[in-house]
């Protein structure tokens, strides 16, 4: 179990080592819930495809999750329990 926790922690840290992913995660953390469109509006300096990649990575390690909408522009991305724990660890 300890090795599982260590591996998860390593995955989380790797995901947040990427500056873009870190920015995307911090932006979602601020509001807790954001649509993909709001994210691209808030992070104008980052390309939409890079945001998509970061979202996939963050979702992959469990820091965020998504609720799909009828049109993907309004998919909601929100912080998970692991994301909230990571926020405290990052402070």
């Amino acid at each position: 179990m300890m090795s599982l926790i260590a591996r998860d922690l390593r995955d989380l840290l790797n995901a947040l080592a990427d500056e873009n992913s870190k920015q995307v995660f911090q932006e979602i953390l601020k509001s807790r819930i954001l649509t993909k469109r709001q994210l691209s509006e808030h992070l104008k300096g980052i390309d939409v495809q890079v945001i998509d990649k970061s979202l996939r990575e963050l979702k992959g390690v469990g820091l965020i999750d998504t609720k799909p909408a009828a049109i993907s522009e309004w998919d909601k991305y929100f912080v998970t329990e692991e994301g909230l724990a990571a926020e405290r660890a990052l402070r």
């Binding site: 609720k67 799909p68 909408a69 522009e73 309004w74 929100f78 998970t80």
Partner: protein
């Protein structure tokens, strides 16, 4: 009602207030999304802790003031010292097994609070998507050809043009639903007002 019972009731009320404030700041969500199993569990954990420390505080308070003839609202002090005492306990008690630190009490409480806040956030996200989807679908039915005008007015020319670019580059998108969703997301109150007016 005796003083201890009154103290326990007041401690439960204090717990409710503390839990609501804590979860409000952690989840940044509306109170209507707070009715989840994890939230109830967190409230029960905190209530048990606060009531236990209130009982402990009662014997301390009795020893210090009541036996000296104090006849005021002693149950208030049971509760106040109990609830704040539990906060001190949370911060300072470590659970160890074979001299190895397993988890501190604050870690357990934080885990329960995170689980509760995450359940609120998930519930809020789910409900919000469903709600906006319903608004958008009704808007498409009711606003009809005027939808573009409403969208342009509400979103402004810049946002509208950005959306038009996305619609033009994705022929699979239903333009009416797309604009209705944009309107519902941008200004749900106005979207509801349009529906009501039709």
């Amino acid at each position: 009602m005796n003083d201890v019972k009154a103290g326990l009731i007041l401690s439960t009320l204090f717990t409710l207030i503390i839990v609501l404030i804590e979860l409000f700041f952690r989840s940044k969500s509306n109170l209507r999304y707070f009715f989840t199993v994890s939230c109830c569990l967190y409230f029960i954990i905190m209530t048990i802790g606060n009531c236990a420390s209130t009982l402990a505080a009662a014997s301390v308070v009795n020893a210090v003031i009541k036996d000296q003839g104090y006849a005021g609202y002693v149950w208030f002090w049971y509760s106040l010292i109990g609830v704040f005492g539990f906060e001190v306990i949370i911060q300072n008690i470590n659970v160890t097994f074979l001299n190895q630190g397993v988890l501190t009490l604050s870690t357990w409480i934080n885990k329960a609070a995170d689980a509760a806040a995450a359940s609120i956030i998930r519930y809020a996200a789910d409900s919000d998507v469903d709600e906006k989807q319903k608004i958008a679908e009704t808007l498409v039915k009711k606003a009809g050809a005027q939808l573009q005008t409403y969208a342009l007015q509400t979103l402004g020319a810049n946002s509208y043009n950005q959306l038009a670019t996305i619609m033009n580059s994705n022929p699979g998108i239903d333009p009416h639903l797309f604009l209705a969703l944009a309107l519902a997301e941008h200004d749900p109150k106005k979207a509801r007002a349009i529906i009501k007016a039709k």
